[in-house]
Symmetry: C2
Subunit: 285 residues, 2 copies
């Protein structure tokens, strides 16, 4: 496995791989890898002859007061996990290489980034779209693989790739969960024991929504009412939002006729967690 820091070196490496007729698959991450990431990497391994994983905590997608500084980092551990999962290249650029002085170009995906996390995390998706656009140009993948846990991110990246005519296949993979249902996230490392227990109520809420849906409920307000009631009054928890949206436009959906997703963001102590459930899919908890 190679570890490449320089964007230029990565780009030259990828260009050679492509010119050699090989397919590149790519998993962009912020590191502190967990089983969810490894799942994406294994899928990447199947979809290309050269598997690149980026590890980069991207400053432009963090807002003021968010957890950019304390976001967990452990490149040595990440490297071992990546290597044993068959990764060919880790790309871990520096901030000064990615955003040199006078950096000033940003990609905005305008509509699908308005709702849900876009309501509170101003500028977040601008940062996500911009860094993915940059990483795609550097790594030159044929296929890029994202987790569905970050549902809005996946929708925004798909829109960017389609709108900007990027010749990249975007693959979304199901959320990987702990045995007790908690969606895997690098931010779970922030949780103290009692918070970890309280956090189980996110996936429990999704199960509740699934049950209501399977029982025939199609009124979004009714499902949201039950979900919200379920999360109310639980110590350490504060619901930021729970919404039911069209899976493509991410606009609020009053009635579950079209493909719909229940998406939520919840503070557990000071840790902000997100989770979601696409109605009709099997929620494996």
């Amino acid at each position: 496995m190679r570890i490449i820091q320089s964007a230029r070196e990565m780009q030259e490496f990828s260009e050679k791989i492509r010119n050699g007729g090989k397919k590149i698959s790519f998993v962009p991450t912020m590191g502190y890898l967990h089983e969810g990431h490894l799942h994406l990497m294994r899928e990447g391994g199947k979809r290309g002859e050269c598997l690149v994983v980026s590890i980069y905590v991207n400053p432009t997608q963090f807002g003021a007061g968010e957890d950019f500084e304390r976001y967990p980092r452990d490149l040595e551990r990440d490297s071992q996990m990546a290597e044993s999962t068959g990764v060919d290249v880790i790309f871990c650029p520096t901030n000064s290489d990615m955003y040199p002085a006078h950096y000033q170009t940003f990609v905005n995906v305008e509509e699908v980034t308005q709702n849900l996390c876009g309501l509170s995390r101003s500028g977040h998706f601008r940062g996500v779209a911009t860094v993915c656009c940059k990483l795609f140009h550097i790594v030159k993948p044929h296929t890029a693989i994202f987790g569905k846990k970050d549902f809005q991110q996946l929708v925004a990246i798909r829109r960017m790739v389609e709108d900007l005519n990027m010749d990249i296949k975007i693959v979304g993979m199901p959320t990987v969960r702990e045995a007790d249902g908690l969606a895997m996230s690098s931010r779970n490392a922030y949780l103290k024991e009692d918070e970890r227990t309280a956090a189980l109520n996110l996936s429990r809420s999704l199960l509740l929504a699934q049950k209501l849906f399977n029982d025939g409920q199609r009124d979004a307000a009714e499902i949201l009412k039950a979900v919200t009631e379920n999360l109310k009054g639980i110590p350490l928890l504060r619901l930021e939002y729970a919404k039911i949206c069209d899976t493509e436009t991410l606009k609020d959906l009053p009635h579950l006729g079209k493909e719909a997703v229940l998406a939520m963001a919840v503070y557990v102590g000071k840790t902000r967690l997100i989770d979601n459930y696409v109605f009709g899919e099997a929620l494996e908890i």
Copy 2:
């Protein structure tokens, strides 16, 4: 010469050319070709084995009340000129292919687009950056060639390509002028005879600035005063701006120590013309 309308078909064509080990050079245009464009194409022919020219009047770079509808178009004439200049492919997409319903992704180059034309043409450079980003992804060039007549556009595209890590060499070519000095532009077709005569004052102003510079003047305000005086009171002419800027940041420069450009926009009747002079270069009029 091939004419390709579909973005998908163009992209597949280009991917095959690249996989065959050939270099693609690219000249993006809005059509209604003139000698300035042909100049870019001849340069493109030297820099690649496959020369692609796009002809597309991009709606997103025109503001409300600007000349999108009446912008001159003549694909048949353009095709003949391109073919006889050695162009391999004309790419002329449709608006519905470039901007389908729910299109929502835009590229913003923030700083270098603020001054000069950015002061009056709100959204213009957002449209330019976005369409060039799209065209680059579709045509997949190794080299793209732009004219220096649209100086701010060239600076913005260079910044976008560098900031977004696009693996494309951007080449800027000197402005091509009519025998009497008027910078070539498709918009010159709008000019009536008396307007055509009045328009000569743009290049005359550049010559005046060059003379002052060659005589040792380094105070931007003094040069701008002379240029402005020179354009004042001429019937049919209305100066929008004349500014002296740093050639990289496009910020106003009070003193000509660094590389500087004199850029101007002038209305001649209802036609808006731009021209510029990079101090120290030879102005060939």
